[in-house]
Amino acid sequence: MSLPPLLTAPLDLVPLPVIEYVARTLFANILKSHPDLFERLGDYSGKRYCFSPTDLPLDFIVIPGNKSLTVLRAGQPVADARISGPLVLLLALLEGRCDGDALFFSRDLSVSGDMEAMLALRNALDDSAIDLPENLGALAGPLAPLLNRAGCYVRQRALSGKVAAWN
Amino acid sequence: MEHQQRPCLSLGPVYYLWDGPKWRDFYFRIADEAPVAHVVIGETVCSKREHFIEPHVADVVERLEAAGKQVVFSSLAMVTLERESQRVRALVRDSTHPVEVNDLAALGLIKGKPHSIGPLVNVYNAATARLLAGRGAVNICLPPELPMRSVREIASSMPDVSFEVFAFGRMPLAISARCAHARSKGLVKDNCQFICGEEPDGLPLRTLDRQSFLVLNGVQTMSHSCVALVGELDDLGAAGIARIRLSPQDCDMVAVAKLYQSVMEGRLGSEEAIDRLQAIYPAAPFSNGFYHQKEGAAWIAKGRTAGLGL
């Protein structure tokens, strides 16, 4: 279920600030269209969440309350709660399109740190109906072709039924 | 808060399956030697076990009463079968002794008759206690899970009702329609061969890292640790608690009762009492976490309670 190297390889060459710019724009876009996310997160919106796609050489650090997002080369980031797994699954989680109970604690994703914060995020995302393709579509920039390709790849996988669980 | 009356000791029902003679001899010795005022008897956990003690109940009651003990009959903790319903109805209807209610069926049937409420009924607040008292409850043994804060709050709001606190024994933590005890030995409840009788003090269940955790007692799950509210007895007395419950373990319960009595009379310090208690019942570590609003398995040594603001 990992992204093929063909897709990830270019990321090594893209300067971090560029990736960060795109991710931040997307993040800001999401937060703007889903203010309810904060209320549901409550005290947990001040937590430092780390998303580590196992098929990308990057970590994404998010503090929802500060509306801050930082991209780091993969390593041992400082965070209150960390979730790592294939990008496809992380994006599905972001969309609230996966059933946390099953996926969240499966071996496909691994979670560590403050489980309460993690659960709060999962539940908040589930309520907020984020539509990633919509948010992605609103973006333009140097990474647009790459995002496009990633988006197509994900859909293709999803629709081909190879990821059985995606129905 | 000053109360003239010191709490007295009560002995809860034997939760385990002991064979008839063992059960009888246990109570004979309690009658003869233990400084307990109230004794609750009768099968509480599993209706299938009742026949083990039935032949001895009359003798036990007679001996206990001859020794001046108040005898109370315990009702079943969980009633799902028609046969069990019939048992509870018969107990409430025919008992010549006060009944300790452990399930909602008995609670409904017993309205208007003076009765006790056992620690397996969910009494978490004064509103509930008041309701039960209004229906005839004269003594309420609070659930082991309650912190002292709740105990004090409930007792102080109803000075006319006698409250009881679970102060010694493995805690009843859960009850199920399935029998994990039988299951662990490859049997099912309906054909259990009374296998739980093999462990008169519970079947230890440990974590995969070999941490002692729980014990199985038929359909009931109990704590591995044994509650020992000893350093807390003064506070319980001051809060107006009328009875201190000792729950039978497979150990010298007469010695346990004498030890608690000594502490309550101020003849024995609580720290020394704990050391001696451990010698009387070495099978389990002690706990008092629930009382101190911590995890139930925790042990809070006496000197540290002051800092908790309890």
């Binding site: 539940n123 129905n167 | 049937l109 607040n125 659930p143």
Partner: protein, 325 residues
């Protein structure tokens, strides 16, 4: 039979209504209900809006206030009951006698349901709750068999609601302190079992260890599906053997006995899972809705779809309920 559906968030609530629920049950975002998980449940405003949405679609809203009032903090529960009544809850689902007495006295017109947490498992127990608090409906414990339920329902003077699908408590509900024994947080008083605050996962060589309050609840070999460390679902050691000591396979027997339950007079079927996502809610509700009106011959196909979902709870895959749009 009515279909009573869970909602942990307003989104899930709308999904349940849209998928054909007859009633949706939910709780406030605090200790007054037994699914007090972070990020879950409803503010007063959210409940008000959800009730409006439900009404517009002819759907009822039940508010679960099914924990036990902590002595000294009763006001939290009383306020929740007052607000649920004020906002127009079609029923409140209660477990605590003190709270039942409060509602019966202060809101005598309010429809009162007995929560499964009250553990009313027999005729005399239920009769007591009907007489003492004018309970209109009782949710039966999941410990009863279909035959038990059918027998009992015929004897009662109130409506009966039974769990038809979802997670099962191994222990009698509302009578379990296992989780608080390990963590200090009480399912009955704090509304949370096996709380996330006390959950830890750690790697130990090839194995993944799940812990609750410092107790090992399970160890998973490489590639083995892991699970949340719900205490009664854990693997333990008894007499040298390592085993799932409490858990029995989740049973969906009730789905095979829809007609029997209907004939016995069961009023409502309940779906467990306020902590599950909205995708799960939508899927389960729509399948069950179809199953209820389907001819018996068409039912097995629907039920097997449900079975897949149920087993999916325990496996690594089978996690997604909807595709990427």
């Amino acid at each position: 039979m009515e279909l009573i559906c869970p909602a942990g968030t307003p989104s899930a609530f709308r999904e349940a209504v849209d998928a054909g629920a007859d009633a949706v049950y939910c709780g406030f975002r605090d200790e007054t209900n037994a699914r007090n998980f972070p990020g879950l449940n409803f503010s007063r405003d959210e409940l008000a809006q959800s009730i409006q949405y439900a009404r517009k679609h002819g759907v009822q809203t039940f508010v679960a206030l099914n924990t036990f009032m902590r002595a000294g903090d009763e006001a939290l529960w009383y306020r929740a009951a007052d607000d649920a009544v004020r906002l127009g809850a079609d029923a409140v689902i209660l477990a605590d006698f003190g709270l039942m007495a409060y509602v019966a006295e202060n809101h005598p017109e309010q429809r009162l349901h007995v929560s499964v947490q009250a553990s009313a498992s027999n005729r005399d127990a239920i009769q007591f709750l009907v007489e003492a608090f004018n309970a209109k409906r009782v949710v039966l414990p999941r410990i009863l068999t279909t035959q038990d339920i059918a027998r009992l329902t015929r004897q009662l003077s109130c409506e009966v609601e039974v769990f038809a699908f979802g997670g099962l408590c191994v222990m009698a509900e509302g009578r379990c302190s296992l989780s608080s024994y390990a963590t200090g947080k009480s399912p009955n008083m704090n509304g949370v079992c096996s709380p996330a605050s006390h959950v830890k996962y750690r790697e130990d060589g090839e194995e993944m260890v799940s812990e609750l309050g410092g107790y090992t609840i399970n160890r998973f070999g490489a590639g083995e599906a892991s699970g949340y460390p719900t205490l009664c679902k854990g693997r333990f050691e008894i007499d040298g053997a390592e085993t799932y000591a409490f858990e029995d396979p989740v049973s969906l027997d009730i789905m095979d006995h829809l007609d029997q339950l209907r004939d016995a007079g069961v009023s409502a079927l309940k779906i467990e899972g306020r902590q599950r996502g909205k995708a799960y809610v939508a899927e389960v509700v729509s399948i069950l809705k179809k199953a209820l009106s389907a001819e018996p011959a068409a039912r097995p196909a629907l039920i097997s779809r449900l079975r897949l979902m149920s087993e999916g709870q325990r496996t690594t895959s089978g996690a997604f309920e909807k595709r990427w749009r």
